[in-house]
Symmetry: C2
Subunit: 688 residues, 2 copies
């Protein structure tokens, strides 16, 4: 009897585990509802995948036939394809695969499939940047260790399990149109270029290749000395040039379609050409020359700032603009969305559109370093959309960041976009189930930078939360799940801005962990531009960083009419107000409130918005599997607690300067400032 009971229990535990929804399948959940015949005259690993995906996930007419046709067509660019209800046409097998995913997505979400519509990607190179260290940790990663690296396994033959994970990863990327992976941290280890590690790069590249994912690596500029044993890493030194040439050859022998190098040089303590009195162009070009014969590229980061200058926001522009035109055509300058560093909100970097003779690519951050890690629900698509649609005016009205970078305006040899990945070994890849939406959104925007966030959210929700009973999407599901959840996602980034850094405030995090509030953080002797007071400039008179003509003059890096608009407090958008202006606490806002009150209202609005999200989510309980429901519910609770901490910390801290009461209509703080300042465990509160 006892044994029977035990067996029954065991079986049910196993069954539950088999069917437990762990989020691992991401947005790839479609199962076929009928048969399809796939006709294709060509064979390749990539075509094989396309055929398998179509058969596995077919939700069109039962018994239909679909033709995969590889045929040159000038209307089809790069990895693009022409989609019809019964045919996918492309110049390449990879285009066929992308068309396959587009077709299946449309079947699943119920979007129409019209005849002979051409889909071309906005960017040629669509990469994920993995800030993965060789020891397996991930800088700013919040979803477990690296899927690529492990200090115990790097030099061993990859296991079946590891390869399976890489394959799942490649499939997920391909399904949303990504075609490149930079496998390691921009703060690169010199070991990356050693034979053992390069062997693993080859193993990974072999798995990614059929899915069209090119492999890239980040390199340390001082590798010739550190790995090669040379006496210098001077980019103009012939031995150095030779060393890199040889190294590139070695890599291409292992990985014939190797993508190229990502380089963080002369930035935040990383070595670079400036160590030898050379320019960024000297450094980048030397590497570009080595890669050129193999079709490789150099993505050279513009994230540079030194302690000497008065305004960090201006430095990348100041350093790179003089070099415009000096870079090889296979160098792309990789520019973070904002002039500082992936803050909840920044105006676009003035380098976009300004460098007219150089390829420039946006670097977005998918991992939520400054936006609540994998604890806060923040749909980043709206932030990226805001960037891509920002008008630089560099070639007249309509010179959006999207058009300045995707080749619409400038004749770049290469167009590219990069997203710093948020994935790790966590079963659900991203830690937060909704963080998957950011991976998804990045891919979709990289493919089509004109997509809107509601469209992307709509797709993602349908693909991710649909289940058998919802195969035919019902009105009930749409009204009571899709719409409210989409609304929550759409509002989530503005909520985070409000409870963290509204009205143009930026970089007021607590040190290092970049999670909780720390507007006070400024240890003695610390570089000023690493401390929040440098950025908020709060004093008894007011708050904000004066970047007008009478301040740091960062406004002058923007093309007119933006320069004048940002410079004039009356025309500066309020979302950037304290980014560009130091204003009196009494400054009258458009709402009629004074600045201090307005700040208070924003923080309060942010907190209450998170509480609304909690209600939204709790209400949709019956539409979601219990596992993901509970996990997201738990994360939202933490987010709510943390939003309270952000609000209290910032208002109580700034109140010391404003000396004004928090408007009495608003809910009062519940924490003490000194407690928040000294107690990391309360401030960080990352228990969940």
């Amino acid at each position: 009897m006892k044994r029977t009971l035990f067996t029954l229990t065991l079986v049910s535990v196993i069954l539950v585990n088999l069917f437990a929804e762990d989020g691992h399948n991401l947005w790839l959940r479609n199962k076929n509802t009928g048969n399809v015949t796939v006709v294709c005259s060509e064979k390749s690993a990539t075509i094989g995948i396309a055929v398998q995906e179509l058969k596995q996930g077919w939700q069109g007419m039962d018994g239909a036939t679909i033709t995969l046709k590889i045929k040159k067509d000038k209307a089809i660019k790069n990895d693009g394809f022409k989609l019809s209800p019964t045919q996918i046409q492309s110049n390449t097998p990879l285009g066929i695969l992308y068309g396959t995913y587009e077709l299946l997505r449309r079947q699943q979400t119920g979007e129409p499939i019209e005849d002979k519509v051409v889909y071309n990607p906005s960017y040629e190179v669509r990469t994920l940047n993995h800030w993965d260290n060789l020891d397996g940790t991930i800088e700013r990663g919040y979803a477990g260790h690296s899927i690529f690296w492990d200090k115990e396994k790097n030099l061993l033959t990859p296991t079946v399990q590891e390869k399976l994970r890489w394959k799942e990863y490649a499939r997920a990327n391909a399904s949303i149109g990504l075609n490149g992976s930079v496998l390691n941290n921009v703060n690169a280890s010199p070991d990356m270029l050693t034979a053992g590690i390069l062997k693993r790069v080859k193993e990974i590249a072999d798995v990614l290749r059929p899915y069209g994912i090119k492999t890239y690596i980040s390199v340390k500029f001082s590798s010739p000395v550190l790995t090669g044993g040379l006496k210098t890493s001077d980019p103009l030194d012939p031995t150095v040039i030779k060393w890199w040439n040889d190294k590139v050859k070695e890599i291409y022998k292992l990985v014939p379609d190797f993508g190229g190098f990502l380089v963080k040089a002369s930035s935040e303590g990383q070595p670079g050409p400036q160590d030898f009195g050379r320019t960024h162009a000297d450094g980048a070009n030397m590497l570009a020359d080595a890669l050129k014969p193999f079709g490789g590229i150099v993505m050279w980061r513009a994230f540079v700032y030194s302690p000497s200058d008065k305004d960090r926001a201006k430095q990348a522009y100041n350093e790179f603009m003089p070099l415009d035109g000096q870079f090889r055509d296979n160098v792309i300058i990789q520019v973070k969305n904002g002039p500082i560093d992936f803050q909840p909100r920044e105006p676009f970097s003035p380098l976009f559109g300004a460098m007219k003779k150089t390829s420039v690519m946006p670097e977005l951050q998918i991992t939520q370093e400054y936006l609540g890690h994998s604890i806060h629900l923040v749909f980043l698509s709206t932030m990226w959309e805001e960037l891509l649609k920002s008008d630089t005016y560099q070639q007249g009205e309509g010179s959006t960041v999207a058009r300045c970078t995707d080749g619409s305006i400038y004749n770049q040899k290469y167009t590219a976009i990069a997203g710093v990945s948020n994935i790790g070994l966590d079963t659900n890849w991203c830690g937060h189930d909704f963080a998957q939406a950011n991976w998804y959104a990045f891919g979709r925007l990289a493919w089509n930078n004109q997509l809107t966030s509601p469209e992307i959210a709509d797709e993602w929700i349908k693909l991710t939360f649909e289940n058998d009973s919802l195969r035919n999407i019902t009105t009930d599901w749409t009204e009571n799940f899709l719409i409210p959840v989409k609304q929550m996602m759409m509002q989530s980034r503005e909520a985070a801005v409000n409870y963290m850094m509204p009205l143009g405030l930026h970089h007021i995090f607590s040190a290092n962990e970049h999670y909780g509030p720390g507007p006070w953080w400024a240890p003695k002797g610390m570089r000023a531009d690493w401390t929040p007071p440098y950025y908020h400039q709060a004093d008894s008179q007011g708050i904000g960083f004066d970047r007008t003509h009478s301040g740091s003059d960062a406004v002058s890096q923007y093309h007119e009419p933006l320069c004048s608009q940002f410079n004039d407090v009356k025309t500066c958008p309020e979302i950037y107000l304290l980014w560009f202006h130091h204003l009196s606490w009494d400054y009258k806002m458009k709402s009629g409130r004074n600045l201090w009150d307005e700040i208070c209202y924003h923080y309060d609005t942010g907190l209450n918005k998170v509480r609304e999200f909690q209600k939204t989510w709790d209400k949709v309980e019956k539409y979601v599997d219990v596992e993901r429901f509970k996990k997201v519910q738990c994360k939202l609770r933490s987010q709510s607690r943390n939003a309270q901490i952000w609000k209290d910390a910032c208002l109580l801290y700034f109140q010391q300067f404003s000396k004004k009461p928090i408007p009495y209509k608003l809910e009062r703080p519940v924490y003490e400032l000194d407690e928040l300042m000294k107690n990391d465990s309360i401030r960080i509160s990352k228990a969940n």
Copy 2:
């Protein structure tokens, strides 16, 4: 130069300290605004105090004359007095002192002083019970160590500082009409009756005496064995009787006006007459006989319950009712307000009014053991008023607890009331500045059990927060300070009930510290009636303790019509609903909601009320000194955090049984149940 700066700094530090408002002066802040001539034919220490108080605090007509007249008057009872604008008359010097305080209070608060109005106290004996241990700690004390005891100082001659504190204490008590102090914990140390400690009792009594404060002590029933070295403490044993007689004589030699003993016996592990097969009456009477010749009394506690019975709420009644009529006339049975233990809300103890041939006195708890310690702002006057006005119906309608205990109905030899003190060595006496209001309210109700809580709050606020600029109370101050603060106080106890234990829930605290929520707490092997599940009885069917005829039948201990009213779920007041009934989660409440939803609404209402209090307090900032403003603000923040924890813990815990969603209109929990259950530091959260 440096020295000058140093001196200046020192002076300013001293000045700030001199004028910093630390709350030490309680409600005694009146300074004279004119001269008065005091005429009195008698002299005594007490009269001397009265004269000094009048001169110090006179706020009547400048140059007036007031006569203090000691003259027998039958209309004046006990410590009563007859007050006129120019005369205070009494039978005793103490009555004159009480009249003095009444006069000064009226002057300060602006209440009229009419001609020849007699004021008599409701109770003859009006005591504070100090749960102070001889080592200086205080059981359930939240305002520092004992003002009476200190393990290093008990056997030394009291210092000037100690005596000053005792005098301040006596004055504060006298000013609100209290006339007795039980100096030590009811869980009494046998050392209390040793010569060294009794010497200190004498020292204290000498300081308290001029203010009319009689001294009492708690005694351990087994003292004859533990202190006296006898073989038994059997109350009928002649050697025991003799030992107590001798001990009483010894005490009266030291303290000629000694008040008597307070005894906790055969209760919660304390020794008592039942250890020897004797009754409570046997034990109490033996001590009463020893005290009788000196006019002393015995206050014998009815707080008894054993693990054997099925309903703890019934036990005191069951044990004491059979003894009614068997007690000496100088024994008073001291009965806690409710049948369980000082919970945020209980129905009155059925012993009130039921014991018709025995003196019965209410024991109230001023220290907030179950009501947020010295962290939560809870004005207890409303709770006590609710008790005193509860109709027992024991002698027909109008047989309120007040009238059943104050001699209006029963011909008790002694009438008395006790309050468990909330004071300690904290500079502001009570920890929370608003906890002073509870000390004040207890004194005022002990003097006049017909006073209403708004009257008491009104007095206390005026006396405590008035300052020079408010001597003539302005409309502005009344409207913007007095009224909102009074409203906050008036709503505060109901708020605490709502966020802790609404609708008759009781005793669901976390163990031991009696601060945070712990409805789950039930370690294996623990006495059931020490665990919350015993009291809430939550299960999949519903919640609540069935004390109806079909349950434990505790309702039968109440006189009709209460018995029927409580027994019938339709007539049982909803505030006591789950005290008397186990009801389905779906039970339909008067609001139209089901029981589960109603519980949720109550917890949510409680939390939001505390948030309202925060707003109320922040708004009055300009009317309060900065020190008390900040302290109270800080406490309210903690209270708000803790109310959130209470709400989340209770709702998430009970939701496991109800399996129903928290109504979606309500703000969602922000904590996780398992986190709250395992993490004391979060649950208790007593940092401030």
